[in-house]
């Protein structure tokens, strides 16, 4: 088995609920506590297994906000395990989960230095390294209903942007999503073969934008004319299209004396979906 997470960057709204659920479950679980320093003070800081960062990808007008929740990638070639001098860090053969045996850790920080993803944090109170366990104390708990045997972050996600499963099974949800949506690894060039995959945003049709017209454009007459044109378009759109109204609308346009083309009129009329 190769257990891991798939995170959908298209639907993630960056609410940090997964980080909070993770902290709640794990601080009271077998790896806890996740110590906090100065929790209610001016500079609160503490151990988290999951952190969410927010980015802007590409430039205006094509820019998009991306939320990137990051926890342990449970790398197939985990550098943190390789560098560990005490054997406290290990990767389970049966399911690929990378764990820290806190009773063996000497707190040298070398694994945190070796991890490119910032997945490991030293608990200053206990002097040992802590990290995401993929909720190993939950996913195998047979006292829980089957649908609850998932990591806390996955269960809590309000937009269903997180998926948990076995990447070794080609028909699992995580494998299928990765295949169909082009799931990507973070920093694959370092060669640690991270397991978690991130689904890039779906390609949505491009929405063209135009500069918003100011009220003074075309003067008072232009304002009235464009208002009337919008009424006509609205009626057209809902299917009210009897001749009298259409004529009245057309008549109104000539009536207000807009003999000369209004600024931007011809271009706008041929461009569907114009925002204004």
């Amino acid at each position: 088995m190769k257990l891991g997470l798939v995170i959908d960057m298209d639907t993630c709204v960056g609410c940090h609920a997964c980080a909070v659920a993770c902290k709640q479950w794990n601080t009271s679980g077998t790896t806890g506590p996740l110590s906090d320093t100065d929790p209610y003070g001016a500079e609160p800081t503490g151990v988290w297994f999951n952190r969410i960062r927010h980015y802007e990808v590409d430039d205006y007008p094509n820019s998009k906000t991306i939320n990137a929740p990051m926890s342990c990638m449970h790398c197939e070639d985990a550098a943190c395990v390789t560098v560990c001098p005490t054997g406290a860090s290990y990767k389970r053969e049966e399911d690929g989960i990378v764990l820290v045996d806190q009773s063996k850790c000497m707190g040298c920080n070398l694994c945190a230095w070796a991890c490119p993803y910032g997945a490991r944090e030293l608990d200053p109170n206990e002097g040992v390294m802590k990290k995401c366990t993929l909720c190993v104390d939950r996913i195998y708990d047979e006292h829980l209903p089957v649908e609850d045997r998932q990591p806390a972050c996955v269960l809590t996600c309000p937009t269903h942007a997180r998926f948990f499963g076995d990447f070794d099974d080609p028909d699992s949800e995580v494998s299928t999503l990765t295949r169909e949506r082009g799931g990507q690894a973070m920093m694959p060039e370092l060669g640690y073969a991270p397991v978690n995959r991130y689904l890039p945003p779906r390609n949505k049709p491009h929405v063209p934008t135009v500069e918003k017209k100011t009220a003074s454009e075309g003067g008072a007459i232009g304002l009235v004319a464009s208002w009337m044109r919008r009424q006509k378009e609205a009626f057209d759109a809902i299917g009210v299209h009897d001749g009298s109204r259409a004529e009245a609308s057309a008549g109104a346009r000539t009536h207000v004396g807009a003999a000369t083309p209004l600024p931007g009129d011809s271009a706008d009329d041929s461009t569907p979906g114009v925002l204004r």
Binding site: R51, W113, M186
Partner: protein, 310 residues
């Protein structure tokens, strides 16, 4: 990277000790100090062991949970830190036997043999220490073969100056050792300048590969934490560029230029005062060099915190 005093003191001081012991093993074979007496030889060896021990003890202050430090001997096959620990411990009985045989029996084949074994082990420890840093692909300023080269060269240079200090204090001839020290200082200066040039070239992961968006610019909007984290404290250490340049100049001047000036005979016949000044300047200079080694290192996790301006 946060420059931790305990680790800087450890690598500089233990490095100087190992360098001194390596050169001591070659004192008679290579004629660095042909007239040294067994007692003086043993005393010099003890000075080397003292430096090494002080350094190794300091390294344990870096551990957050030192009661488990003994476990660091268990992952010899994969971890450079474990290898360093194992070789540092294996080194001791061999080096102690070497010094005892020298003290009791003088300059014998046994002493030479044990000296060479100790020197080999000392070199291995130096390389292992450097490989802890050089093996980290996440820190590109460390992930280079220049790292072990610099650690070994600087250890030997400091060791040569400390050895000179001993010879001068015992009024022994220093001719051969002075030329050795000059060669070592020149080569380590060159290696360090190559390193400074090399880390000036942009390389390694970018925010694009870090997030998987390789066909557009990526900008940080928010780091997601309201005050510092373990990562900002451990990896986010930043020094103003002007200050870094100033410290680089000070480090090169103290570690290389001044000692070279004093021991090359350019400012008069090399005497006691020259050697003392050279050794002090070099120790402080290498301390600054090792501080820079940490302060200039940039961990890739900083990319996620917006370290790359786009």
């Amino acid at each position: 990277m946060n420059p931790a005093f305990s680790v800087i003191f450890f690598t500089v001081t233990a490095g100087a000790g190992y360098g001194l012991l390596i050169l001591l093993a070659f004192a008679r074979i290579a004629g660095l100090a042909p007239d040294i007496s067994p007692d003086q030889y043993t005393a010099t060896g003890l000075l080397g062991l003292l430096l090494v021990t002080a350094g190794l003890l300091s390294s344990t202050f870096h551990l957050a949970n030192p009661k488990n430090a003994w476990r660091s001997f268990t992952r010899f096959r994969t971890s450079w830190l474990s290898r360093e620990a194992v070789f540092a411990v294996v080194f001791y009985p061999v080096a102690v036997l070497w010094l005892i045989s020298e003290w009791l029996f003088g300059n014998t084949g046994l002493s030479v043999f044990l000296g060479l074994v100790s020197a080999t082990l000392a070199l291995i420890v130096l390389v292992c220490t450097a490989m802890i840093y050089a093996s980290l692909k996440t820190i590109r300023q460390w992930h280079t073969s220049l790292t072990p080269v610099n650690f070994v060269l600087l250890g030997l240079s400091l060791g040569a100056l400390f050895f000179l200090l001993v010879l001068v204090s015992q009024s022994l001839p220093i001719g051969r050792l002075v030329s050795t020290a000059v060669v070592l200082l020149v080569v380590s200066t060159l290696a360090k300048l190559v390193y400074f040039h090399w880390i000036g070239q942009p390389a390694g992961p970018t925010i694009n590969t870090a997030l998987g968006f390789t066909r557009a610019t990526v900008r940080l909007l928010d780091v997601g934490h309201s005050s510092g984290t373990f990562h900002t404290r451990e990896f986010g250490y930043q020094v103003a560029r002007a200050k870094l340049i100033w410290i680089r100049v000070a480090s090169i001047t103290l570690a290389f230029a001044l000692p070279l000036l004093f021991v090359s005979g350019l400012v008069g016949e090399v005497g006691g005062a020259h050697v003392v000044l050279a050794a002090i300047a070099a120790y402080v200079g290498v301390f600054l060099e090792r501080w820079l080694f940490f302060a200039e290192a940039r961990h890739v996790v900083n990319l996620y915190h917006g370290s790359q301006r786009t």
